[in-house]
Amino acid sequence: MSNKTDTHGHGDIGCLAAIEAFYAYLDGELSDPQAIEDFEHHMSHCRSCFSRAEVEKLLNERMRGSATSKASEDLRDRVRRLMDEF
């Protein structure tokens, strides 16, 4: 695993720095434009990190898709009755 944590002429942050930023990037929470550029640059030429990112995106989709729990009508009625008393 590359242990570069700052640029060395090729402008690559290395795998460890990429992993540090990984989930924030995938969750759309990386706000620094330079950090985004550095991360995307690394993804463009590191097969392992790119593969991992693709899998994590898939896992994100699967988790988001699991938000299928529906409150029952009984619960909704119970809460409505509660709110009627406010």
Binding site: C15, S48, V55, L59, A67
Partner: protein, 203 residues
């Protein structure tokens, strides 16, 4: 329409719109449908009592999730049940190197080149079971962000922690989740075999 009716109308509408998300999160936290319904009802009641603390109506979602989480934590105290702790102290964020050094080599080899098909085939219930097995701090954060779609900022407000802690929990929690999924597959005899020894990354 009086100011009080306006607040009540707003509150009722927001509760209706967020009911499924509140129930889904309560279910993941409390474990059973009955307990989840009680948790939601308690949350709504407490939230109405505390409506004066809602400073910005645009922030209703993280505000109500914070109340839900606080109600859940209070339930722990009432039942004298200790939350599941993590082996990783949150304050001691030794970074990715420390986190990876603590993992078994088999997992690291697999994690370096995970197979997409493996995740495609994995049942949603297996993924949620893996999430449910995480220490509480990480489980709750992943549920709020990755299942219910809160931003890191909203999750931070809901959990009463700094945004940096949310980011740290996501990093650690997701790595733990990957390991839990790998262990599930390994124990079931379906973990993909790795031909390469060690982790290979582009230089």
């Amino acid at each position: 329409m009086t100011a009080n009716e306006d607040i009540k109308t707003f509150f009722s509408r927001e509760i209706e719109e967020n009911m499924d998300a509140l129930y889904g999160t309560a279910l993941r936290l409390a474990g059973t449908g009955a307990d989840a319904e009680d948790l939601v009802a308690e949350t709504v009641s407490k939230a109405w009592s505390a409506i004066g603390t809602l400073q910005d109506r645009q922030r209703f979602r993280p505000w109500i999730f914070r109340i839900l989480h606080n109600c859940f934590i209070s339930a722990y105290r009432r039942e004298a049940v200790r939350p599941r702790q993590s082996a990783y102290e949150e304050e001691d964020d030794g970074g990715v190197v420390a986190l990876l050094n603590a993992q078994p080599d088999d997992f690291l080899v697999w994690w370096a080149n995970p197979e997409r098909q493996f995740f495609n085939n994995m049942l949603g219930s297996a993924i949620m079971a893996a999430i449910d097995g995480l220490p509480d701090a990480f489980r709750t954060t992943i549920i709020l962000v990755n299942v219910e779609g809160l931003t890191y900022d909203e999750a931070a407000e809901a959990l009463g922690i700094p945004p940096g802690t949310v980011r740290s929990r996501m990093k650690r929690g997701r790595t733990m989740l990957q390991k839990a999924l790998w262990e599930q597959a390994r124990d079931a005899g379906i973990a993909p075999l790795q031909k390469t020894a060690g982790i290979r990354h582009e230089q």
